[in-house]
């Protein structure tokens, strides 16, 4: 098992390096550099040129890349052109919001997926199962952004059960109970929108897994021993079917990233996804690069975590 983990880690590092090179080359292709927007247009051109030389902006690309990478390891992601502040600081605020949104989404995803998957698998080919399968079928075909828009329209505007934008009600003091409640209230609708769409593949997987396990020999043995139906399901089948589901959460990160980009835009929720779209539109490229780098690294690490958990849970994967 350790062999597998080491081998998986060896694959991860080149991935991270290639990701950083792609982003760096993208940054080079983008108009402007660290000095644009910072200097006063009245300053002499020769002085700017001298400054550029001093900052190393005229170096060949591989030296610039090493500079850039070592800066990142020291927590220096550059300056935001629009906000006139450190990208690190800007990203930090937004990241907290997106982090909680993701946590809420993951919780909802599993709260919805596990019971539905179990019901659907346990009572397969009943009316209940076909309605759940119908939901997953339609959910699979529905683009997230349309669903989120409809949710916002119905629950935000028509019924007015939830706030329609922002991450906290204006005027609430940080640290109070009201503040926390307002935060949670603002999270619910966006998180639920992503979860209801994202969960369908997990439901489908859990269902087919349970239907599959139901016919295994060890289940028949358990029944023959006289184990009650609930014991067969809770102790024997679920133990086999639930673990892979739990391991999938790393892969879900990639889906979450896509989800937050759309949903934060629709609910005007101040998180990383919204920051990303805003920065691209405003051509604030140092922020764009930082966000892509963080999200990309998160996706790569998520896949790593999932693969490792899966290898622990399912020894067959390790053989390859």
């Amino acid at each position: 098992m350790w062999k597998f983990i080491v081998r998986r880690l060896i694959i991860t590092f080149p991935q991270l390096i290639v990701l950083s090179i792609i982003i760096f080359l993208m940054a080079q292709a983008m108009p402007g550099d660290a000095l644009t927007g910072l200097v006063d247009p009245n300053i002499d051109r020769a002085a700017i040129e001298e400054q550029r030389e001093k900052l190393g902006l005229n170096d060949p690309w591989h030296i610039k890349y090493v500079d850039w990478i070592s800066g990142i390891f020291q927590g220096d992601l550059g300056q935001s052109f629009r906000y006139k502040m450190e990208v690190t600081e800007l990203v930090e605020q937004r990241m907290i919001n997106t982090f909680w949104l993701s946590v809420a989404t993951l919780i909802f995803t599993y709260i919805i997926a596990v019971p539905l998957g179990i019901i659907s698998g346990r009572y397969n080919d009943t009316l209940l199962d076909s309605s759940i399968t119908g939901y997953t079928y339609i959910g699979f075909a529905t683009p997230l952004f349309i669903f989120a828009l409809v949710m916002l329209w119905i629950f935000g505007y028509q019924l007015q059960w939830f706030p329609t934008g922002g991450s906290v009600a204006p005027g609430t003091e940080p640290g109070t109970i009201d503040y926390v409640m307002s935060k949670i209230n603002h999270l619910l609708l966006p998180a639920l929108s992503i979860a209801l769409i994202q969960t369908v593949s997990t439901v489908q997987y859990l269902r087919s897994e349970i239907v599959d396990t139901k016919q295994r020999d060890f289940v028949i043995t358990a029944r023959a021993k006289g184990a009650s139906e609930s014991r067969v399901y809770n102790r024997h089948i679920l133990r086999n079917s639930l673990l892979p589901i739990a391991a999938f959460f790393g892969y879900e990160i990639t889906m979450l990233i896509t989800g937050t980009i759309f949903v934060e835009q629709i609910f005007s929720f101040p998180g990383m996804g919204q920051l990303f779209i805003e920065s691209v539109l405003q051509r604030d490229f140092s922020v764009v690069n930082a966000v892509v780098l963080l999200f990309g690294a998160a996706a790569i690490l998520g896949a790593l975590i999932s693969d490792i958990i899966l290898s622990v849970v399912d020894p067959r994967i390790r053989i390859k």
Binding site: P143, T254, T258
Partner: protein, 301 residues
């Protein structure tokens, strides 16, 4: 039980085993939902391409300040948007553009994915290993973000550039599926026989293996078409698909990011949303029926 009987009798009827494409067609006709979806799709395609042929696109995207945000009426079947442009006309052209880009991207990413998958699967060993690591890397990247960044830094932004960027990040699923099939296929006798006869690898891959997995290819491409239509409208929704002068279904939906439009002017975004849903469900129904056909255990008739 009845199903089984039908299955038996139909198999006895056809003395020689039916070809892959014939099985696909038969399954499609048996599945009523898929058949209705297919007919609906063909009707939409014919209608949309036909009408947009007659309609004057310039007239529709022209801004008319005297007719801003008009609700549906006799003159404008689905009202007008914030530029006074006819929503119904935009819906037709948008559907046409979304479908066209869906077809183009599916075809291009299909070509790359099939070639990549066939080569990785057929040669196996080290080549397969290296190619799969490259694929892993592409697959783990957040697709939407990279497309958005590339779209925003391309200097001459055209529809062609958009489809190429889109393709560059969407061929991986197909490649993975084709590769696993090619791995199985290359062990079969006909491939070994061909090799012994001295047929070149290139010829075996594209003239012999590829036709043999053609039904799988058709299924994958159909299912991909559905997801590509959704992704394109999503990108246009965020403002990184087509420019506004060439409306797509996503462009119409993006007007709904304005809360006023979302709350009070349903005629701008609801038809486009319904259209995307109908298209995606219909294509998916057809694709699922085809997928069942390729898997003998799941076949219905």
């Amino acid at each position: 039980m009845e199903m089984n009987n039908m299955n038996m009798s139909s198999q006895q009827d056809s003395a020689k085993s039916p070809s892959g494409l014939k099985i696909l067609w038969r399954e499609l006709v048996r599945d009523k939902l898929a058949l209705v979806s297919l007919i609906l799709l063909i009707l939409i395609i014919v209608f949309v391409y036909g009408v947009s042929f007659i309609m004057d696109e310039k007239e529709i995207v022209k801004v008319d300040l005297f007719a801003i945000h008009e609700p549906p009426s006799e003159e404008f079947i689905l009202g007008t948007d914030y530029g006074g442009r006819d929503v119904f006309g935009q819906l037709i052209i948008g559907t046409r553009n979304s479908l066209s880009i869906g077809f183009i991207v599916t075809l291009l990413s299909g070509m790359i994915g099939i070639t990549f998958g066939l080569i990785a699967g057929f040669f196996g060993g080290h080549i397969d290993n290296v190619l799969m690591r490259i694929l892993d890397f592409f697959q783990v990247l957040p697709f939407i973000m990279l497309v958005i960044v590339f779209v925003s830094i391309v200097p001459n932004y055209t529809i062609l550039a958009f489809s190429l960027i889109f393709t560059a990040f969407s061929w991986m699923g197909i490649a993975r599926l084709i590769r696993s099939k090619a791995l199985q296929e290359k062990e079969l006798d006909y491939v070994q026989a061909s090799r012994t006869l001295g047929t070149s690898n290139f010829k075996i891959i594209f003239r012999e293996v590829m036709p043999n997995i053609s039904s799988l290819i058709i299924v994958t491409l159909t299912l991909n078409l559905a997801s590509n239509i959704g992704l394109e409208s999503g990108l246009s929704f965020l403002g990184f698909g087509f420019p506004e002068s060439t409306p797509s279904l996503g462009t119409l939906l993006s007007y709904a990011t304005n809360p006023q439009t979302l709350e009070h002017r349903w005629w701008i975004w609801v038809p486009a949303a319904v259209m995307i849903l109908v298209l995606m469900l219909a294509v998916r129904n057809v694709g699922e029926a085809l997928r069942r056909a390729t898997d003998a255990r799941q076949r219905r008739g």
